[in-house]
């Protein structure tokens, strides 16, 4: 048991990544403020990166390349998302995601 704790293996990194991912997930589905939801999404992506990097130690550098692409993608997505937010905010003057319920029809 102690060995499992002291000897840091892949699993540990995976667990940390999972925990971060799940925290980000909780934030997404729980918070009202849309800025914070965005940030939690970024956190989730970051956690996925960590996961990939942990695997890349086992199977080569491909994981890191993948993580690089994810990072680029995250940046693009954050830019566009914030653009959408600003466009939306111009009309509604609120960042309460509960009021964004126009999709129900």
């Amino acid at each position: 048991m102690l060995d499992a704790l002291t000897h840091i293996g892949t699993l540990h990194y995976l667990l940390v990544a999972a925990i971060l991912f799940l925290i980000g997930m909780i934030g997404v589905i729980t918070r009202r403020n849309v800025m914070i939801i965005f940030m939690c999404i970024e956190l989730m992506l970051s956690a996925v990166n960590l996961n990939l990097l942990a695997f890349s130690r086992l199977w080569g550098l491909h994981g890191q390349v993948f993580a690089l692409f994810i990072a680029a993608d995250a940046a693009a997505e954050a830019a566009v998302g914030l653009g959408i937010l600003i466009a939306f905010f111009r009309n509604r003057t609120t960042v309460n995601v509960d009021e964004v319920d126009l999709l129900k029809w």
């Binding site: 997404v28 589905i29 995601v97 509960d98 964004v100 319920d101 999709l103 129900k104 029809w105």
Partner: protein, 712 residues
């Protein structure tokens, strides 16, 4: 044979008088009315007398004149199946039958009718509606003559109804008087009850014999006497006919109309309710003697009813104060005698009594009319008295009539009444002796109340007011002459029917009992009938007369004299206050008799329903009320109930529609859908985070499944 062959003229003459009165009467003066109407009846009498003379001369048993087919079969014949099998054609031919029976009736009806018409010219001289009165009288004569001369039951019934109608019209002559119109209704309705019996009897006779014709029916009855003796159907037919006779001839229980009929003018009472109409019942029974002889039980009923009626009416007559009422009850009583005679089989005696009674009763009524005329309209004997000297002719005439009715020897009533009593004693081995006893007691009472009438009216002290006393005068000749004529008839008519026993006493040989001989062919019911038990008058051999007969004769005379003497003792010297011995001796009895045994009241309770027992009403009016209540409550209640039911159904239907159909049927599924969609609805709130959460739930579910269900 001219008059005989044109016998149809006899009823036609008064009919013409009636029609002329109907059409022109209003415009005619009194003398014209007299000429037409009285002349018509006088002519009818003359014609009848001549016809009868020609008939007797011809010597045939009967004369038949066929007039026309009344209810006929032309092309299609109406066949009716009879009681004992066989078929008969239903056809009624109107015709006239003149045989000894109808000859007797014809003569006294037209004769007395003519006298009364003459009398009425004097009596009704100061009354209104003169032409109407004579028109009705002539109509009555026509109906009565139709009745007498008819040759079959249905035509006789036409006359029967006609006399009933005329009785109604004449009783209610003073129609502005409520009592008069009520009395007229009573007479007509009571008669109607009897008429039902006549019709039933007539049709039963047709059903039995296939014919309504008197001659034919008599022939068939006598031919099949052995078969028919005592059969129930004949019993029914004869009883039905007798019920009709009770109605017309005022026997118990249908006599109630006769006393009230005194509301009509006195000539009407004399003609219709004394001499002619009320004898129609006797005529019918005598005409059907062949049938009655074959129904011994009916004969017994006839005799008992007759005797009881005679007794009953006489008791009531003892205490009546209205002069005409006494005579009315006397009529009922004498009619009872006639039926007693018929019932014991003494048909001839009964018919003889009809004959003599017509004379002295008409005389008594006309005399009382004369008294009332003299008394300026007063009819109550308690306000009369000491009139003998003031109206002598009336007095003497009425005395003659009273002697006749009481049965004092020498006058007509004695002969006929005595014959009846003797027959009652001796008929059929003395079965009817108790009825004889009733007859004797009734004779005593008859004598008593008739002499009471005489003493109260003509003797004693005058109890009238001064004004009335001043106006007392003898009646005009038009009234007194008929009185005299009738008085003579009352004396001498009896000699037509002197029985052999009396003749032996008096020494009148060879002229005995012409009446009976004259009528013999009508009543010759053969020996077979008597042998098989029918009630037939005993063929007493002419030579023999038993001592009993003389004894009975003496007894009846003694009864008459006893009645006279008691009346004399009680009433001869009546002063201002009339003292009634019965009232002194037994006041409750007096009260009961004075109120006519409360029979009218009983009828009002039970039959007509004019008086109610508390809150319930019986009788005809009660039935009407019950039907009305039934209609109002049950039938209308049913209708209302149907209406209520419809409204109620509408309410139920609307409730059903509102709550069940709309509530459950329409709103229910909507509600369910709404409920069911609620969870589904919240899944699609439009919120992104909710969608994300749902995805997470899905993921968790998958993971859970993979971890725990697939791994092992």
């Amino acid at each position: 044979m001219f008059f005989l062959h044109n016998l149809w003229m006899v009823p036609l003459l008064p009919a013409a008088g009636a029609v002329l009165m109907l059409l022109f009467g209003r415009r005619l003066g009194k003398s014209a009315v007299n000429a037409i109407c009285v002349g018509a009846v006088l002519a009818a009498f003359a014609w009848s007398a001549l016809s009868v003379a020609q008939f007797v001369h011809a010597g045939e048993p009967r004369f038949h004149l066929s007039l026309f087919t009344w209810i006929g079969s032309g092309a299609g014949q109406l066949m009716v199946s009879l009681y004992g099998g066989g078929q008969a054609e239903f056809v009624v031919r109107a015709g006239m039958l003149l045989d000894p029976l109808s000859a007797v009736w014809l003569l006294f009806v037209t004769g007395v009718g003519a006298l009364i018409h003459i009398y009425s010219t004097g009596y009704m001289a100061h009354e209104g509606g003169y032409y109407r009165f004579f028109g009705y009288l002539n109509l009555f004569m026509f109906s009565m003559l139709t009745l007498i001369l008819a040759d079959n039951y249905l035509l006789m019934f036409v006359g029967w109804e006609g006399v009933g109608l005329c009785s109604y019209l004449l009783i209610g002559f003073y129609f502005d008087r409520h009592s008069a119109s009520t009395a007229a209704n009573k007479a007509f309705i009571t008669n109607r009850v009897g008429d039902a019996g006549v019709l039933l009897g007539s049709f039963t006779i047709f059903w039995l014999f296939g014919s309504f014709d008197f001659v034919r029916v008599t022939e068939l009855a006598r031919a099949n006497a052995a078969h028919l003796m005592g059969t129930p159907i004949l019993l029914f037919a004869t009883l039905a006919l007798f019920v009709g006779a009770c109605g017309k001839s005022a026997q118990i229980p249908l006599y109630i109309w006769l006393p009230d009929a005194m509301e009509g003018p006195t000539p009407v009472s004399a003609l219709i309710h004394a001499a002619t109409m009320v004898t129609a019942g006797v005529y019918m029974v005598a005409r059907s003697n062949a049938l009655f002889v074959l129904a011994p039980k009916t004969m017994m009923v006839v005799a008992v009813v007759g005797a009881l009626t005679a007794f009953f009416a006489a008791t009531i007559g003892l205490v009546q104060n209205d002069i005409k009422r006494v005579l009315a009850y006397s009529t009922v009583s004498q009619l009872g005698y006639m039926f007693l005679a018929l019932g014991v089989g003494a048909f001839t005696a009964g018919v003889f009594h009809v004959f003599t009674h017509a004379f002295f009763k008409a005389l008594l009524f006309l005399g009382s009319g004369s008294v009332i005329h003299a008394m300026s309209g007063e009819q109550d004997m308690r306000s009369m008295g000491a009139l003998a000297r003031k109206i002598p002719i009336t007095f003497r005439a009425m005395l003659v009539g009273t002697l006749a009715i009481a049965g004092i020897p020498g006058l007509a009533g004695f002969f006929s009444k005595d014959e009846i009593l003797w027959q009652a004693w001796s008929a059929h081995n003395g079965e009817f002796r108790i009825l004889w006893l009733l007859g004797v007691v009734t004779a005593l009472m008859t004598s008593f109340y008739m002499f009471r009438l005489i003493y109260l009216t003509f003797f004693g002290q005058g109890r009238m007011s001064h004004e009335v006393e001043h106006h007392i005068h003898e009646s005009p000749r038009s009234m007194t002459v008929p009185l005299i004529v009738l008085a003579l008839c009352s004396v001498f008519a009896g000699y037509l029917g002197v029985s052999p026993s009396i003749a032996r006493i008096v020494g009148l040989h060879g002229q005995t009992n012409r009446f009976e001989h004259f009528l013999a062919p009508v009543f010759e019911n053969h020996a077979e009938a008597s042998a098989s038990g029918g009630v037939v008058k005993e063929e007493a051999p002419e030579e023999e007369s038993t001592p009993i007969e003389y004894g009975l004769m003496l007894l009846s005379v003694a009864a008459a004299v006893a009645g006279w003497m008691s009346a004399r003792r009680a009433y001869a010297n009546t002063a201002q206050q009339v003292r009634e011995p019965i009232a002194i001796a037994a006041p409750p009895v007096y009260r009961t008799l004075l109120n006519k045994y409360y029979v009218d009241e009983a009828y009002d309770y039970a039959i007509t329903g004019r008086r109610a027992l508390g809150s319930t009403r019986l009788g005809a009016i009660g039935a009407g009320e019950a039907l009305w209540k039934f209609d109002a409550r049950v039938v209308d209640g049913g209708v209302n109930g149907a209406g209520w039911l419809t409204r109620f159904t509408g309410r139920v239907s609307s409730w059903w529609d509102k709550w069940i159909i709309d509530g459950l049927g329409v709103n229910g599924p909507a509600f369910v859908v709404r409920m069911m969609s609620y969870p589904t609805k919240i899944l699609q709130a439009g919120l992104l985070q909710w969608y994300a959460l749902v995805m997470i739930f899905g993921l968790a579910g998958l993971l859970w499944y993979y971890l725990f269900h697939l791994a092992h």
